[in-house]
């Protein structure tokens, strides 16, 4: 099994607060790894460290065999931030074409395809600030899919989407993984956890579960992942929850 991301003893301090307390994990290539945990648990910080925009206090993050943040990696990673980060005063198509132009070998046709992939073909020529919240975040996702990246880091990509679109996007993620792309997808809704190959559960800056989805269910002794996580949390800190 190829390893796409190797995190070792990662400590991140934001402001005066230590957000990640020396976590280690390893993300296999060509799979969908779900990063789950309540909001404020450190998911976004870990993702920022993986794409190389987060200052780290100590520890190492190795991505596709190179230290995170290496210039060469920027061609190979697609990143969707949690808050949609595209230009509100451009149309979806103009945004997609601009981000496409930043990657060598990515064409205008690829930009149009990415818009179709996220189900925005009909709104392609609408200005982004006139879109609904769900459309806005899908437009942002389209721009992350553009560079035919080897690694896709998606921070809560399905928030605010209707169930049909969510289903479509997860089919898309599965198809990308089947074609060899490594995906790291964060979510705070447990019903999405079941769609991942592997799960990393973060709580208060520490990893409390890191295994294949089936193994997490087995360890916790329940098929329901929400319940499984509750049991894992209780097992870790009986006093706090008890």
């Amino acid at each position: 099994m190829d390893v796409a991301i190797e995190v070792k003893d990662l400590v991140v301090v934001r402001g005066r607060k230590e957000v990640l307390h020396g976590i280690s994990t390893s993300v296999p290539a060509g799979m969908v790894t779900g990063l789950l945990g309540p909001s404020g648990s450190g998911k976004t910080t870990l993702m920022r460290a993986i794409v190389g925009v987060q200052k780290v206090r100590s520890g190492t993050v190795t991505v596709l065999g190179q230290p995170a943040g290496t210039a060469d990696l920027r061609r190979r990673i697609g990143y969707q931030t949690q808050a949609p980060s595209i230009y509100a005063d451009l149309t979806i198509r103009e945004n997609a074409r601009y981000f496409a132009s930043l990657y060598p070998g990515v064409t205008r046709a690829d930009a149009n395809q990415a818009i179709v992939d996220v189900g925005l073909a009909d709104a392609a020529d609408q200005l982004v600030h006139s879109l609904s919240g769900g459309q806005f975040s899908r437009a942002s996702l389209a721009c992350a899919l553009l560079g035919k990246p080897d690694l896709l880091v998606l921070d809560e990509p399905t928030v605010g989407l209707d169930p049909v679109l969510r289903e479509d996007l997860w089919m898309k993620f599965r198809a990308l993984a089947a074609a060899g792309t490594t995906l790291v997808v964060s979510s705070h809704v447990m019903d999405e956890a079941g769609r991942c190959d592997r799960l990393v559960l973060i709580r208060e800056g520490r990893i409390i579960a890191d295994d294949s989805t089936s193994a997490v269910r087995e360890t916790a002794g329940t098929h329901d992942l929400e319940e499984a996580f509750l049991r894992l949390i209780k097992a870790q800190s009986p006093v706090e929850v008890g």
Partner: protein
């Protein structure tokens, strides 16, 4: 640096402006209204308009480009697009010079229209050529833009960003020779004025006003203005950090 990314970034910035017709209208129209006001203010003393009108042709692009660039860059930071851009193969100079190119084109349009009004409607006369006046106006715009890019790094909000206009631009306006001739300033103020890039922008325009052929001093002034712009852009590049807290 990549020419392809730089050009597509400049095109993207111009497309954003194209969707914002009111801003383009303001950028082109406001200098015309102000020039008209100043012209009628000194209607009986055309020699004064001749002096001030010429300087204003260089000041409008400087002030306006400073303001719109600092807001535009601040928006890149606060909307998350800057962070996203820095995870792509884009190089920092692609972004900074992309802004430079886009806003220079805009400044050229603005300066061209304002200069045309001043010369043909209000009989502004200079001994030197109109094209040199426009060249200086564009150089001033680039200087304003470069300073705007740099100072936007120190603003967390639009409220803070607009404060840099009085903080950074007004002292240069006061001491550049527009309100009082530099020769009459106290020596410490004169020294202060020597340290401000806008001084050379104004002096260069005055050289064009008073001399038929471009003077050595004018070329030196242009070099200083361009040099300060490059310096400010380099400092701005340092403020663009890929890794943040």
């Amino acid at each position: 640096m990549s020419a392809r990314i730089l050009l597509s970034t400049a095109a993207r910035i111009l497309t954003q402006l194209r969707h914002d017709k009111r801003t383009i209208g303001l950028i082109v129209m406001v200098p015309l209204v102000l020039l008209t006001l100043v012209y009628y203010l000194f209607e009986k003393q055309p020699f004064i308009f001749n002096r001030i009108g010429l300087i204003l042709l260089g000041l409008f692009p400087f002030v306006i480009m400073f303001l719109i660039t600092s807001i535009a860059m601040l928006r890149e930071r606060t909307s998350g697009t800057l962070e996203r851009l820095l995870t792509t193969p884009l190089h920092k100079p692609d972004l900074l010079f992309g802004y430079g190119l886009a806003f220079s084109l805009l400044a050229a349009v603005q300066a061209g229209v304002a200069t045309a009004l001043a010369y043909w409607a209000f009989d502004l006369t200079t001994r030197g050529s109109i094209s040199l006046v426009i060249l200086f106006a564009v150089a001033d715009a680039i200087l304003g833009m470069a300073l705007g890019l740099f100072f936007s790094a120190f603003a967390r909000s639009e409220f803070q960003a607009v404060q840099f206009l009085p903080a950074v631009v007004f002292p240069q306006l006061f001491l550049c020779g527009l309100f009082a001739p530099r020769e009459q300033m106290a020596s410490w103020m004169h020294a202060l004025s020597n340290a401000m890039p806008l001084t050379y922008a104004v002096q260069g325009l005055q050289e064009i006003g008073g001399n038929v052929d471009p003077t050595g001093l004018m070329w030196r002034d242009l070099t200083i203005v361009a040099g300060c712009a490059v310096l400010a852009l380099s400092l701005a590049a340092v403020t663009l950090r890929r890794r943040t807290d």
